[in-house]
């Protein structure tokens, strides 16, 4: 401890100086702070204990909180989600981890038939305050089954709340909010952003979890993105400046519910919109975005809402993923297909 602390300005003690934090670090801090604040918060899953998770999001938590607050479960995802339901019924606030999107599939029945439906089935008597964390999407050179984008499965399921942060500050704030939520939350973490950094002073509270945010203002086009593609959208917006195109970027943050208000306001301003995601285009979440934005803003639209998405193929092997994933170039090329004089 620095003997000089008394000479430091008093404000410093209240608002800690920002430090560079990765998204993985921010998530780790959110779990740590949530566990410290509320002993009903428990964490389990595969390899979350001594290993700290394959992405180190739970690093150090078992050492701090012990084996009764955070532990390694047997290797069975339906078991993990199914037991979390029981724990949530008893008033705990379980935060469970699915190791990768594709490994949440064994838990599908528990997610759809119980997590999503419990509150409705019981006329609101049984709420499930639980969080299912899912490291998601690609661009990490992962071998087969390690880069799926599963969001559409969850967003198609009434009763689930589905969110995906794109940056460390949101990661912290939204995970805290998800844990505090009385309803179950599917918390999706874009793997390729785990090591992205931002200066952060914790605890940080960003916009409420169910709100989209305009992360860059523009006048000509609205790019709607979430998770890993927010960066892609921002890159495209940067590059478009040279072409004299002013792009507004909306980070959805919440996939379900969808923030019609924020997105609609942007689209009515720009009159053109495109949505970007990694998942295959056909039946992807972008379909809902495009359908919805069009339905509600048709007479404001000068052009169809475009979808810039993965191809309609299973996620490719590491050497081929770059051809599949949307890039800023591909976004700009897509915008060029519009009849700009229309």
């Amino acid at each position: 401890m620095n003997a000089d602390t008394t000479t430091a300005p008093p404000a410093a003690a209240e608002a800690p100086a920002p430090t560079q934090l990765t998204m993985a670090g921010a998530l780790n801090a959110a779990l740590r702070d949530a566990m410290a604040a509320d002993d009903r918060v428990i964490v389990y899953g595969e390899d979350v204990g001594p290993l700290g998770g394959v992405f180190r999001v739970t690093d150090g938590l078992q050492a701090q909180f012990g084996d009764d607050r955070i532990w390694d479960s047997p290797l069975a995802e339906s078991g993990i989600v199914g037991t979390a339901i029981g724990m949530a019924m008893y008033g705990m606030r379980p935060v469970v981890e699915m190791q990768f999107d594709a490994f949440s599939y064994p838990a599908f029945e528990q997610m759809v038939s119980h997590v999503a439906k419990m509150r409705n089935r019981t006329r609101g008597r049984v709420t499930l305050p639980m969080v299912v964390r899912i490291p998601c999407a690609g661009a990490i050179g992962g071998v087969e089954h390690h880069s799926d984008s599963s969001e559409a499965y969850w967003t198609s399921t009434p009763g689930l709340t589905v969110v995906m942060p794109s940056n460390p500050a949101d990661a912290y704030s939204m995970l805290r909010e998800a844990i505090d939520s009385d309803d179950p939350v599917v918390f999706m973490e874009p793997k390729s952003r785990y090591w992205s950094k931002a200066p952060l002073a914790l605890p940080v509270t960003t916009a409420p979890m169910d709100r989209a945010e305009v992360v860059r203002e523009g006048t000509d086009v609205t790019l709607i993105a979430y998770g890993p593609t927010v960066r892609t959208a921002l890159e495209a917006a940067d590059a478009a400046v040279d072409e004299g195109l002013s792009i507004e970027v909306v980070d959805l943050r919440s996939l379900s519910p969808f923030d019609d208000e924020t997105v609609g306001a942007s689209v009515r301003k720009t009159s053109r919109a495109a949505v970007i995601h990694e998942a295959a285009q056909f039946g992807g979440y972008g379909a809902e975005v495009a359908a919805r934005v069009t339905e509600r803003n048709f007479h404001h639209l000068a052009a169809p809402v475009l979808r810039i998405a993965g191809f309609d193929i299973p996620f490719p092997s590491p050497k081929l993923e770059e051809y599949h994933l949307p890039t800023a170039d591909r976004v700009l090329a897509a915008l060029d297909t519009w009849e700009w004089d229309a």
Partner: protein
């Protein structure tokens, strides 16, 4: 807030490796004679008061079941899965837990719910088609009846583990069918419970069929209780039509679980006398002969013979039980005689804790339709 001294998940109990008895454990034979020796597996007959209580509950529960089947035939319910013939299993087991313990039932287990004190109207709401579930889970410490097979077993494991982490001395009991044991979730539930040593009692009601599929197509194991060995937990193979044996074995399991001794798997061998549900046609897959065979092994008659032979069943007791059973049947008829008209606008109320704008929009749209008389015919009760 940090790691305190509560019990560690590192469990010290050695795995159990004992094979369940090949013949189902039994305390009363089919003629109502009390058994001794190997057949009992070391369990002893509950005292007379307990047996009388079990008898009373079975008679009442059956009356309820028969009444609901009749109402279903009259079209008052959308569907009803009867447990006629399984009362020994259902009531022996459910009577072994207390009101602070939790119960995770399936669609099959209405007679256990009645025995647990739920109201007929609460139980039957879902089968009448009013809403998916009609009772208060927390008040009765009873989960909504599960339809997706074996899924509820995991909920029971999770809940009882949470209770253990909280040092609450409660137990969770869950029922599963023979068919349900084939699902992956059954396996995961048994395994999680054994690894975590949760206070969970799994009662497999082996009623010989999963809809039309006989046990021989469901497992190649000698008994379903044999599965316990693969999880290092105790397994018991019990005559499910011997309510005394079911009670004794489940009661011991509940007490062991409560004392920190971990989970138990109990198979009750029984038979579903009625069809799977009212829409099933059992003549397609089983012989009348077989049903007759099992009718002669009726759980209520068995205990009645014993009680009679012991002189424990006075006419006063009998008529008190009959009255109670008839009163319940009357109450059931009464509550089902008025068609409930659930409010369509409630459809939007419980999906999320916090109302969503898009759902409120949809609610308004339906409200407008209703106001415009779109469903007037129906609302006039014309269906």
């Amino acid at each position: 807030m940090a790691h305190d001294g509560c019990m560690s998940l590192n469990v010290e109990h050695a795995p159990i490796r004992t094979l369940p008895s090949a013949k189902p454990l039994r305390l009363l034979d089919n003629a109502g004679h009390a058994l001794t020796g190997a057949a009992t597996g070391g369990f002893t007959l509950p005292d007379r008061e307990t047996l009388l209580d079990l008898y009373r509950k079975m008679v009442i529960a059956r009356r309820f079941d028969v009444q609901v089947t009749a109402l279903t035939k009259q079209g008052r319910l959308a569907t009803y899965p009867s447990a006629y013939g399984q009362e020994g299993c259902e009531i022996g087991a459910i009577s072994a837990i207390g009101s602070d313990d939790w119960f995770f039932p399936t669609y099959r287990d209405c007679v256990a719910l009645i025995t647990r004190g739920l109201e007929p109207g609460e139980i039957l709401q879902s089968f009448r088609g009013d809403w998916h579930n009609g009772y208060d889970q927390h008040a009765y410490r009873t989960a909504a009846q599960a339809t997706p097979l074996a899924t509820q077993a995991l909920h029971a494991v999770g809940l009882s583990h949470a209770a253990r982490l909280r040092h609450d001395p409660i137990v969770a009991m869950t029922f599963l069918g023979d068919g349900a044991t084939s699902e992956g979730d059954a396996h995961e539930a048994f395994n999680f419970a054994a690894v975590w040593q949760t206070p969970t009692v799994f009662v497999v009601q082996n009623n010989q069929y999963a809809i039309s599929v006989p046990l021989s197509r469901q497992t190649h194991a000698a008994t379903l209780a044999d599965k316990a060995v693969g999880y290092g937990m105790p397994g018991y193979h019990v005559d499910g039509n011997d309510v005394a044996a079911m009670y004794a074995v489940t009661h011991a399991a509940v007490e062991r679980a409560r004392a920190g001794g971990g989970p138990t798997l109990i198979e009750g061998v029984t038979y579903r006398i009625e069809s799977h549900t009212n829409s099933d046609d059992p003549t397609r897959y089983r012989q009348a002969r077989e049903v007759e065979h099992w009718k002669r092994r009726d759980p209520i008659e068995r205990l009645e013979k014993y009680l009679v032979s012991e002189g424990a069943l006075s006419e006063t007791v009998r008529s008190e039980i009959t009255d109670a059973a008839e009163a319940l049947a009357a109450k059931t008829r009464e509550v089902m005689s008025v068609e409930a008209e659930p409010d369509p606008l409630e459809l939007f109320d419980h999906v999320y804790s916090r109302p969503r704008t898009a759902l409120l929009e949809q609610r308004s749209a339906l409200e407008a339709e209703l106001a415009a008389g779109a469903f007037a015919q129906h609302e006039a009760g014309d269906r």
